[in-house]
């Protein structure tokens, strides 16, 4: 029988050890799952392709950073909401809407160039994402409708809307009827920061945002307010914090950042709006946020780790003809183990012999 005994103080050692333990357990479990399912392929070579190769090849490193940028941005926004107990689960939808609204501005000016273009597109993307998440905030405040369900349902709507746009008004007029937008001209694309790769300034912006959020939470009262509303809503009320404002704030911020991330995908690696815009980043960012225990700087590291599962997953798909859903299995497992191991920070685990109690 396992029993959890609360520690008097959170274990400092476990704060750092538990992620390592979680990683090890994930790797071991994955090894056994693969050994069981893949009878005709050497598991060790799959592991090499998944975890080692992306870290030693410069092209893969650049791709890893490309993938990490949107994850960092979205996870940052979500972590603010999660701290406040506001569950925005539909960042994927806000990301898609941001890509559409920001991209729409770019398509409107498809033959105009100017230094103002990307900022204007970014503004449109942020507003689009804010509007979309704002629906959930409005319904939560006005009618107490659960924001988890609203944001999720709106994600399905957003993906269908994208498809309708690409078959209708946004379709490239000279694109042979493919459901894709015009490619953006160079002036509307994010500047590349590593020549010869697809890595753009999005990563720099994401990292800057992490530090800004960190300082904001550390210094500013709204950081305290958000933390308290999440962990003790009643106490927050007595202290005079307005939980309606917190709900608006949390959803608008996370929606705006997710919208911007959507635009950065469109004018970054994609270069045009395609049906492939939704890449599950919005959902994966939830894992990133939780793995980092909602800490803005730790988010950078967990985003890199999750990006590794994306790149590795794509590679085993190419080399071994395995489905890319391996990535989802890994991500689900990682989060399971991270959550489970974090229990060691607050509790000691002791094994005791069960004594049959008479009831």
């Amino acid at each position: 029988m396992i029993r959890l005994i609360p520690r008097a103080q959170p274990s400092k050692a476990m704060i750092f050890l538990s992620p390592l333990l979680a990683l090890t357990l994930t790797a071991v479990t994955a090894f056994f799952i693969f050994a069981f399912i893949l009878t005709d392929i050497k598991v060790s070579s799959v592991f090499y392709t998944l975890f080692v190769e992306p870290l030693i090849d410069t092209y893969y490193i650049s791709e890893l950073l490309v993938k990490a940028a949107p994850l960092i941005m979205i996870a940052l926004g979500l972590s603010i909401g999660f701290r406040a107990g506001v569950w925005n689960i539909g960042a994927e939808g806000q990301y898609v809407i941001g890509g559409i609204t920001g991209g729409a501005v770019g398509l409107y000016f498809y033959n105009v160039e100017g230094f103002w273009l990307i900022p204007l597109m970014s503004l449109a993307a942020i507003l689009g994402g804010m509007f979309y998440a704002g629906i959930a905030a409005f319904l939560k405040n006005k009618y107490q409708v659960n924001e988890i369900l609203v944001t999720l349902m709106l994600t399905y709507v957003a993906v269908l809307f994208l498809s309708a746009m690409l078959q209708g008004p946004m379709r490239n007029p000279s694109g042979f009827n493919f459901p894709e937008s015009r490619p953006f001209h160079d002036g509307a694309l994010l500047p590349i920061i590593w020549q010869g790769t697809r890595l753009n300034v999005g990563l720099i912006i994401a990292v800057i945002l992490s530090f800004v959020t960190w300082l904001g939470i550390k210094k500013h009262l709204s950081g305290l307010q958000i933390k308290i509303t999440g962990s003790a809503p009643r106490a927050a009320k007595f202290a005079g914090f307005d939980d309606k404002k917190t709900i608006w704030f949390a959803l608008l911020i996370s929606g705006g950042v997710a919208g911007l991330a959507g635009l950065f995908e469109v004018i970054g690696p994609a270069g045009q709006i395609t049906p492939g815009l939704p890449q599950f980043y919005g959902f994966t960012a939830i894992i990133v946020a939780f793995m980092s225990r909602l800490h803005p700087i730790a988010i950078i590291f967990s985003a890199l780790l999750i990006a590794l599962t994306y790149i590795g997953g794509e590679n085993v798909q190419i080399y071994f003809n395995l489905p890319s859903s391996i990535t989802n299995i890994f991500q689900g497992m990682l989060l399971f183990y991270f959550l489970a191991c974090d229990v060691l920070i607050q509790y000691k685990i002791v094994f005791i012999k069960t004594i049959r109690q008479k009831l």
């Binding site: 396992i2 959890l4 609360p6 399912i37 569950w87 689960i89 319904l139 009618y143 107490q144 409708v145 659960n146 988890i148 369900l149 609203v150 999720l152 349902m153 709106l154 399905y156 709507v157 269908l160 809307f161 498809s163 309708a164 078959q167 209708g168 959902f283 939830i286 894992i287 939780f290 395995l322 489905p323 859903s325 391996i326 990535t327 989802n328 299995i329 890994f330 991500q331 689900g332 497992m333 989060l335 399971f336 959550l339 489970a340 974090d342 229990v343 509790y347 009831l359």
Partner: protein, 309 residues
């Protein structure tokens, strides 16, 4: 519209409602015990896969449904262990379960994407099924459809007519008090979670064994999430789950028929209907009666229980 078409529409609505009923009635019991499991979508897709695979290899529908039930329970047991023994956050763990389930189903299902199975056929009850109108409307479904309605009744009976049901509700409303008078909170919750997994598994299998004869990894298409919304819609009252599921079934069928009738709206906008309707219904519920749902919501929903003694 002729009579045949109307009957076909009503049958279609019922068939579309059944997977939602299964998944939602399971989750309803789980939430009544104070646990919020957001992994319904993941448990459904795993059930759908298990049912499909077993049906494909054995040809036995009974074994297929059984496999789906066990698969749903197996994956739910991960959630039970993490949230009840290791005290992890319900929301995060449920999301991980959905991602994990979708991943596992797509991974294992990759070798079945080209395969076909024979769908479970409808019952033919002598005399009753041959009655005009009533026959096709009431007595011509496959056994799972009837099972769904029976399960709703059983859950209602368990929750409101048995001692264990009363204890389960008490745990959902105040786990500390229930623990103090000697009830095993964790055991009740684990069993409730496993039941929820079994129901979601069967609901998923209904999709792969009754509705679509081929395997697709996006088969559930958000139905697990709609089932979660249905539980809120029902105000945690079992029989209202049926009403909600029929409304959603109706919207799904309406949208399919509208596409068939060449309504001049893009298919995408019609496909949005079930999702938008979910939101509209949740909102209208609150507009009608602002406090009612709050009163019936289990007080300890989603809260972590740790006994100090």
């Amino acid at each position: 519209m002729n009579e045949g078409l109307i009957i076909a529409i009503i049958i279609g609505i019922s068939i579309a409602a059944v997977p939602l009923i299964f998944a939602a009635i399971g989750e309803l019991l789980v939430e009544r015990s104070g646990v919020l499991n957001l992994g319904v979508e993941g448990m459904m897709i795993v059930g759908a896969l298990a049912g499909f695979v077993v049906e494909f290899h054995t040809g036995s529908s009974f074994l297929a449904v059984l496999a789906a039930l066990l698969a749903g329970m197996a994956i739910a047991s991960i959630f039970a262990f993490l949230t009840q023994i290791l005290l992890t956050n319900h929301v995060a763990t449920g999301l991980a379960l959905t991602l994990f389930g979708l991943g596992i189903a797509a991974f294992v299902g990759r070798s079945y994407t080209e395969e076909n199975i024979e769908l479970i056929s409808a019952l033919h009850i002598p005399v009753l099924s041959d009655l005009p109108v009533i026959g096709p409307l009431l007595f011509s479904y496959n056994p799972l459809v009837y099972l769904a309605f029976v399960m709703v009744f059983l859950v209602w009976w368990f929750l409101f007519k048995t001692k264990q049901g009363l204890i389960l509700r008490a745990i959902g409303d105040n786990h500390d008090a229930a623990h103090a008078i000697g009830h095993n909170v964790v055991r009740y919750r684990v069993l409730a979670i496993l039941f929820g997994g079994a129901m979601a598994g069967i609901g998923g299998a209904f999709l792969s064994l009754v509705q679509v004869p081929i395997w697709g990894e996006d088969m559930t298409a958000g139905r697990g999430w709609i089932a979660l919304a249905l539980v809120v819609f029902s105000s945690w009252q079992p029989f209202k789950v049926i009403l909600g599921a029929l409304i959603f079934g109706g919207i799904t069928i309406l949208q399919l028929h509208a596409q068939g009738f060449d309504v001049r709206i893009s298919a995408q906008y019609l496909s949005m209907l079930p999702y938008i309707a979910t939101i509209v219904i949740l909102v209208s519920l609150r507009m009608r009666d602002k406090n009612k749902t709050n009163r019936t919501m289990p007080n300890c929903l989603g809260r972590i229980f740790h006994s100090t003694s």
